[in-house]
């Protein structure tokens, strides 16, 4: 305690209202929006609430003058299959951290290997530094971070980029938060070969795959945002489609669903054109019918005996 000026600090035994602090930061609104707008992802949501709670407690401790010498490390790693919402959550995370006062600006700079690693000797360091400077005051989101390290090529410049990142993650903790993202197994390999990176990341968050029910709910939300609706038969067809699609290779969760919906919109437009003699009602323009979904290649292959 020692050097606290009498006016500035609360007395040692005063009580702080944690809930009040959280409300004051307006972070709760973002967390609630996250809960409302993102389907499923229960472990991710719990973890984000834990992190927010930690940050609020830390803030409260600082107000009472019991802050430790180290601010909490906020670098994170998001692992999960494609289309599980890693980028979306990272965007919200930036917003939450900004509201809680842990990053000054709260913007998200999303990069991949190409933006960090140069093409010739001496190109990588300035390139990485430029990206880091852009991300300062916000969150640096490195998608498919395992590409940074290529063990099969010992002269790969990715290693240089990793070293600069490590240095910044350690020395400029209050300037930026780094979030790495990628597939679980490949990130594990990446961390095994870069133990320094692993130990500097406090929060490893795993994004589970969506269940069919969650995927259907996501499709509903997407359609609502695009101002479309499903007929009852189409809803049934979509459920069947989701079940079939999940079993296929290259299934990318929500992203596959979005693509499927985009294709259904295409077929709907074609169908409306084909039957245009009758004229088109507002309702017809908004409704996706079962045939728009059933025209998918998946159903045809299914009936042909499943040989893809």
């Amino acid at each position: 305690m020692g050097t606290l000026s009498p006016g500035a600090a609360a007395p040692q035994d005063s009580e702080l209202d944690l809930g009040g602090l959280l409300r004051e930061s307006h972070a709760l609104e973002v967390i609630e929006a996250l809960d409302r707008e993102l389907v499923g992802l229960a472990p991710v949501k719990t973890r984000i609430q834990e992190i927010a709670a930690l940050l609020v407690v830390d803030r409260a401790r600082a107000q009472l003058g019991i802050a430790g010498d180290q601010p909490p490390s906020l670098h994170m790693c998001f692992t999960g299959n494609p289309g599980t919402g890693k980028t979306t959550v990272a965007l919200r995370m930036a917003e939450i951290l900004h509201r809680l006062g842990y990053v000054r600006k709260g913007h998200l700079v999303s990069v991949t290997r190409d933006d960090l690693v140069g093409q010739y000797i001496g190109h990588t360091a300035p390139k990485t530094r430029e990206v880091i400077k852009k991300a300062m005051g916000g969150v640096l989101f490195i998608d498919e971070a395992y590409y940074l390290y290529k063990p099969e090529n010992e002269r790969d410049y990715g290693q240089e980029s990793i070293e600069i990142l490590l240095q910044v993650m350690e020395n400029n903790r209050d300037d930026l938060v780094v979030i790495l993202a990628g597939y679980k197994d490949r990130m594990d390999t990446f961390f095994r070969s870069n133990p320094g990176m692993s130990s500097r990341i406090a929060h490893h968050i795993d994004f589970p795959d969506y269940t069919p029910e969650e995927l259907f709910a996501i499709a509903r939300i997407m359609l609502e945002r695009m101002q479309y609706k499903l007929s009852d038969a189409a809803a049934g067809a979509l459920r069947e489609y989701i079940a079939l699609r999940r079993a296929r290779a290259h299934f990318a969760n929500a992203r596959s669903i979005r693509n499927a919906l985009d294709r259904a919109r295409l077929r709907q437009a074609k169908r409306l054109f084909a039957g245009q003699a009758a004229g088109v009602s507002r309702d017809a323009l908004m409704t996706i019918e079962a045939e728009d979904i059933r025209a998918s290649r998946l159903f045809r292959e299914e009936s042909a005996g499943g040989d893809a």
């Binding site: 300035p126 400077k133 852009k134 300062m136 400029n172 300037d175 930026l176």
Partner: protein, 144 residues
Amino acid sequence: MMNNHGKRITQGQFSFLPDLTDAQISAQIEFALARGYAVNVEYTDDPHPRNTYWEMFGMPMFDLKDPAGILMEINNCRKTFPNHYVRVTAFDSTRGWETPRMSFIVNRPANEPGFGLVRSEGPGRSMTYTVSSYAAQRPEGERY
């Protein structure tokens, strides 16, 4: 512009004030970034007022949101050239301006000898005057 007030050259903004602290520099850069200027770090060891084009320290920094990155570059430059002049310029690319809108010195040599007046006699006993920096009489890199 070219006098040596208190043995300090006075070029750009704030040059009659005591040196800016890092916090003050950050606040100025914050202002520049808020207006969308591209901020640049430059250095030189030729303090002549007509020396407009200083060496660039790295690339101009576009699309930054926070002054921390620029302050990091300034400190790098100070470390590399502790006895040079270092300035920060902010370039406005708005059509019609397309020019540096801010420029201020963030690092100066410990000792600034200033300028001497040079007279040269022209035809018909006319006199022309110019200034010459004492420091710039030595070769580049050995001036301060």
